[in-house]
Amino acid sequence: MLDAIKTYLNSTVTPGEAGSQFWALLYIVAITLGISLAVIAMNWLERKILAHMQIRLGPMRVGPHGLMQPFADALKLLIKEDIIPANADKLVFWSAPVVVTMTAFTTFLVVPFGRTHAVTDMNIGVLFMLGISSLGVLGIIMAGWSSNSHYPLMGSLRSSAQMVSYEVAMGLAIVCAVLMTSLQTGTGTLSMIGIVQAQQAQGMWFIFKFFPLGFLAFVVFAIAMIAETNRAPFDLPEAESELVAGFHTEYSGFRWSLFFLAEYAAMLAVSSIAVTLWLGGWLRPFPNLLSGPAWDLAFSLIPGLSFLVMAAGCFLGTMRMPKIVQMRAQAIGLGTFGALLGLLGLVMLAPAVRDRIQDIFWFVAKVAVFMYLYIWYRGTFPRYRFDQLMKVGWKVLLPIGLGVLILTALVGMRHELLAVVVGGTR
């Protein structure tokens, strides 16, 4: 056992590569739990952030600042009556949420939270992720069709058309990034870890590569990924004002919560792809500008310090709470939460932990930015109409993606091209 831990700690590759099934399994469990927890946190954050954008408070009653609200909701959904509509195709209706959830979680097999923090490093990592996440649309079609009702059917039709058309633009943008990995080193890679290492080797995140080409590819991907996950302003499949709830109109209780889980897991998954491909994955920001051991140390302290800041925020909140008996439980709860965060922060400051944890921290922080953007878009934009959505996908994003791809190839091969041209004229 001790040997297993020792070899794990000294390992410089992922458990999958090292062939350690035990650690791979442990990682799978940890990631599943982590994603579920992240979805719960996202649920709370989305409601709070959206509420504050809309001059509301959001959940305030269940736990301090509504912190326990997602758990209360989850409990409510679990104990709800399990309803399958009488005319529904029972088997398909039953399996649709399973398919959606499975695909959303499976993509995380290859997401590199750090150099060693991934279940495995596939040489076709990006393709695997794209393929598996595309399977999610199958579950949505199944859900819409098996419900045997008009609104879900229309929702699932919209969804499938939307996902298929935006996948094209998304794929083109991804190819740009993959192309960039091969340009200087000469060895291209589809491996998620390889792509991040290529950015490290080239000393540049791909978003800045061949400016503005890398940036454009990133923007195309960032728009397509919102459409891919059916979020505002592309949330037509579940357009509340038109289709009631879209493909999951007939679902309730735990099955519905699986769709919810899958949606947020998919959001996290595509954001992970974006972070890995363009924003340097687990690499810390400003590696060139602020380099040197002193800066390395400073950046490695940030994870722990940020937790301490959050803990301080909680304690401040505890102090600001009205000093009345009714609020005592809330104050104690928030204080405990703050203490927990502070403790985590202190643990993260320990040298042994912080070197190992900071990869994960930077990765999660970058994904969190995308998550915030998702919420921000939802609070800001109206919804596209179906034909306009298709127009944006096929007439705007696809040509831009194609153009950026061709330009990236040309710019990347400029020396060789020049040699050919010069050689030709000679």
Partner: protein
């Protein structure tokens, strides 16, 4: 409009086009409402669809029918006054004004100058409040969540003025036949002035979120176009008519109360699409602020109630009078048989008449446009069904 559900033959619903569609697919009949998030209450729209395209619609109404007109026949003139507030419940003050003026016309009395100014201030505040509800819900239908909360936050200030004036926020019963029963409270003028200066920047804020928003413009431009001749043929009034370019506003066309003394413009649109209707309503809010600013400066001293007998017994006869409610022409037709109760009360609600235009506007458009058009028509089902 259909008589009722059981008489509706869904398979042979007359929706015009019967041509063969792609792959000979059959049409989809979609029942939108009465329980639907964006039919603004209990409107039921039966949509015949070819994929996402709307081939035709049929509105089924009456889910909120309370027999307001019949109640009018069984109440005295004064007793019926609060009932009209329940029709268009987001613009209750306007309803009350229309009714009081109609009975005054029947009695041949006129409200004193001070009462007229108070009435104008209240109705213009009410117009802003009604348009704010429209703006919020319309934006919500198109998918923008946030303007709703901003609009309701600012509407609250108007409701506070209403509450201080007459004690009620929504169904106000603010006016009486012959004038007003409540004198303005201390600081009424200051409150209204404060609201005007408070509201204009807020209006810019709404516009910042929507007017030049690319998605908003693509969602509303060329959607639900209503030509001026169609408007007139369908009897459409209010901002919907004006957005089609017809300069018709009863406040100018047949001025009532003190509107002829006040300086304001009638905003009109060009294309008669949803975007123009949005711009017209926004401009109308600005004009209402202008009216408020003038009216509050000029409000004269004097009595607030004309000489009206305690028991109202109008002479035998009939009268039709209409005012410019936030949603269009709100008319009352009252027949008097000389007793204390009206022989017949007929209301011409703007929402009911404007709703007729729905089918003309959405034919050939997409499902999402139906929602946008219902929002832009600004219907209140309490008024449609009465």
């Amino acid at each position: 409009m259909s008589k009722g559900t059981e008489h509706l033959d869904l398979d042979n619903l007359d929706v015009g086009t019967k041509e063969k569609t792609f792959l000979d697919s059959t049409e989809l009949v979609l029942n939108m409402g009465p329980q639907h998030p964006s039919t603004h209450g209990v409107l039921r729209v039966i949509l015949k669809l070819d994929g996402e395209k709307v081939l035709g619609t049929e509105c089924v109404i009456g889910y909120l029918h309370r027999g307001v007109e019949k109640i009018g026949e069984n109440r005295t003139y004064a007793m019926f006054n609060p009932y009209v507030d329940r029709m268009d419940y987001v613009a209750a003050v306007s309803n009350g004004l229309g009714y009081c003026e109609t009975v005054e016309k029947l009695l041949s009395v006129e409200a004193p100058a001070r009462a007229q100014y108070i009435r104008v201030i209240m109705t213009e505040l009410c117009r802003i409040a009604s348009h704010q509800v429209w703006l919020g819900t319309h934006a919500l239908d198109i998918g923008a969540l946030t303007p709703l909360f901003y609009a309701f936050r600012d509407r609250e200030e108007i409701l506070k003025i209403f509450e201080r004036y007459c004690g009620a926020r929504l169904t106000t019963h603010a006016f009486r036949i012959g004038g007003c029963i409540y004198e303005t409270y201390d600081g009424f003028e200051q409150d209204v002035k404060k609201y005007c200066t408070f509201f204009l920047p807020k209006l810019d804020e709404y516009e910042e979120l929507l007017t030049t928003n690319r998605i908003w413009v693509t969602r509303t431009k060329n959607v639900g176009i209503l030509k001026p001749e169609d408007c007139i043929a369908l009897g459409v009034t209010g901002p919907v008519l004006r957005a089609s370019g017809v300069k018709w506003d009863l406040r100018k066309a047949q001025p009532y109360e003190c509107y002829k003394d006040l300086d304001f413009e009638i905003p009109t649109g060009l294309n008669g699409d949803t975007y123009d209707r949005y711009l017209v309503r926004i401009a109308e809010m600005r004009q209402s602020v202008r009216i408020l600013q003038q009216a509050v400066e000029r409000i004269p001293p004097g009595p607030i109630m004309a000489k009206v007998p305690k028991v109202i017994k109008p002479p035998v006869g009939e009268v039709y009078h209409s005012i410019e409610a936030p949603k269009g022409e709100l008319g009352y037709f009252i027949v008097s048989d000389g007793s204390t109760q009206p022989y017949r009360v007929r209301v011409r609600p703007p929402s009911f008449v404007n709703l007729q235009a729905l089918d003309t506007m959405v034919r050939g458009m997409l499902v999402a446009d139906v929602v946008a058009v219902i929002g832009t028509l600004d219907i209140v089902l309490g008024e449609v069904d009465r």
